[in-house]
Amino acid sequence: MTTMDPTATLSPTDLRRLYEQMVLIRVFETESERQYKAAKIGGYCHLSSGQEAATVGLVHTMQEADQLVTGYRCHGFALARGVSPEAVMAELFGRADGCAHGRGGSMHLLDVDRGFYGGWGIVAGQLPVATGLALAMVRRGKEQAVVCELGDGAVNMGAWHESLNLAALWKLPIVFLVVNNGYGMGTSVERASAEPCVYRRASAFRMHGERIDGDDLDAVVEASSRLLRRAREEREPAVLEAVTYRYRGHSVADAGLAYRSKEEIVARQANDPITRLRATLREQGVSDEELDAVDRDADARVAEAVAFADASPEPQVSELARSVYAPGSGGQFSRMRPGSPFGEEELVFNGGLGS
């Protein structure tokens, strides 16, 4: 991973690599839905099909030392940040080799080595956390920045207000990426936010905010590399609103048609970021054969990931309580056993509590 500041202009190789990432994410999401229906994946599963340009473009402009925090719709971000499809799919399968060892699932992916501090499930709950990661950077005096992803629905939570105020007041190196995909579940931005131009809310904190076409890879890369550099070098936080669209339902449990029309979905697909980038690459002389190969490679990668996940063992029930507390905490709990509820002894105290 490069440590030099990524430039706003994308080389043909960059474009090619980002195209591969976008296709991989699209294929991965489609496969995730299939595996969910096959009951290999459970819980809530939120797909990001249609949002690939905003995802890979943003992550492309992050440096190695930068950190990433997202909401629950995080498969694409994990893959873009370099987490292997195997580790992600295994997590979705709830297996020991998942990036959270099967304890987090679809919403709670992470990879600390890559500065990805998770996938969080409470709307806007990740904002204060990301703000704190930025505060930690400042305390270390390093030139790093945090990217905090959130949705258009999250901007109506109090946590948004408190986090942006702290980030601006303390001049923290953080970019709040609002992935505006038009809806929070079934509620359109207009029905939820008294200021539907979300980026304008940054002004309530004397913070810079701007809106871009989130399906235009160049626009995403230009804006986010500029704002991230500003954050790192000048400790200026910002709001970047990327307007895009979610093709699938809110989660795989939602058909996604009760609150919007088929026509709308079709219309928005005319703006499909992958189709657009493919056209660009064609213009740059990349052949259809090469591009089709990219698609085939993605299919293969994801198939491998599924095979890997399937082969990965389930976590040990005998370790149910492992990692609830830090290693060594077991001793602190040793005197709590008498009179415990039925089963606690075996499941928790002997189940790896604090070991």
Partner: protein, 335 residues
């Protein structure tokens, strides 16, 4: 739901439909009643409890909100003080954590902090529960915290009939009432009285199964589990268990529980949430005092293993208070 026209007899319907019926009846009966929450209207409820209500009662009375639990729960407090009868839907009890201050430090305090000059007749409907691999942030059963808050009332129906009866009682109550619904039960079916005046009184437990060997005390989904276990105990072990469905957590009907324990002399309390500092802790504390001389064995407790619920199916299943674990607890208590 045409049967709603009838006002006598019962109809078989799901817990979800029973809740909807209760709201439809009260929305019709009382102009002051309105429903507010995320996705309750156009989306018809994230668990479809409010399906069809916006169509029938309009956007003003079935009000979609932004994602702002603290804001609209607090708005319900104000609307209630202003004379309305708001019903707030919170998608799951986990999200009440962001509105905790409005529930505990506002709704619960209004009446007495202001010397009885104004009340706060509002209802918060929200499901607790786990079991679908929703993971740590979405799988909690936090009702004990609200039941431990003077000024609030807390009910937790385990059957479709009580879902209707307790929700209607809550809507008609002059105090803030938390109605704890439950994800796994939404689809359960049962006979529900169609009488629009049918209500289940707050503060009255129900002897869901009579028995003589041991008492199982539970609420919400734990009651469903307990009833299955009771049948299994009868079939496999010849154990005749009495099952008490608490229905209300504040007020708590200890009289009914104590009467049962006085008869069986042994009791296992079951809950879906963490037992430590939970509902079963309060039950054990009261039972051991009320039935000190009648108890032949300590009050036993079964609940969720005390870990944030993990995603992996096998870990989640192990952590939940499954029927096997309840049965084992009963057998251990009997010996």
């Amino acid at each position: 739901m045409t049967a709603v026209a009838e006002t006598t007899g019962t109809q078989r319907m799901t817990y979800r439909e029973a809740l909807r019926l209760a709201m439809r009846e009260e929305l019709k009966r009382d102009e002051r009643v309105f429903v507010m929450g995320e996705e309750v209207g156009v989306f018809e409820g994230s668990y479809k409890v409010t399906a069809g209500l916006m169509e029938e009662f309009g956007e003003e009375r079935i009000r979609d909100t932004p994602i702002s639990e603290e804001g609209f729960v607090g708005a319900a407090v104000g609307a209630a003080m202003g004379g309305e009868r708001p019903i707030v839907e919170i998608m799951t009890i986990n999200f009440l954590l962001v509105a905790m201050d409005q529930v505990v430090n506002h709704a619960a305090k209004v009446r007495t902090m202001f010397g009885g000059e104004v009340g706060c007749p509002m209802v918060i409907r929200t499901p607790n529960g786990a079991g679908n691999q929703l993971t740590a942030q979405h799988s909690q059963s936090l009702e004990a915290w609200f039941a431990g808050t003077p000024g609030l009332k807390v009910v937790a129906p385990a059957t479709p009939a009580d879902a209707k009866g307790l929700l209607k009682a809550a809507i008609r109550d002059d105090d803030p009432v938390l109605v704890v619904e439950n994800l796994p039960i939404y689809k359960e079916k049962g006979e529900v009285p169609l009488d629009p005046e049918f209500i289940t009184p707050i503060g009255r437990a129900n002897v869901a199964r009579t028995g003589s060997d041991i008492t199982l005390v539970a609420h919400s989904f734990a009651t469903v589990r307990a009833l299955h276990v009771a049948e299994k105990l009868a079939a496999d072990h010849g154990v005749d268990a009495e099952v008490i469905d608490l229905r209300s957590l504040r007020p708590l009907d200890v009289e009914t529980v104590a009467a049962s324990v006085a008869k069986t002399n042994r009791v296992v309390c079951v809950e879906e949430g963490w037992p430590s500092y939970g509902v079963t802790a309060e039950l054990a504390a009261r039972i051991q005092k009320a039935c000190f001389d009648e108890l032949d064995a300590p009050v036993e407790r079964v609940g969720m293993a005390e870990v944030p619920l993990p995603y992996a199916k096998n870990l989640e299943s192990a952590a939940l208070p499954g029927e096997d674990r309840i049965e084992a607890a009963v057998l251990a208590t009997l010996t």
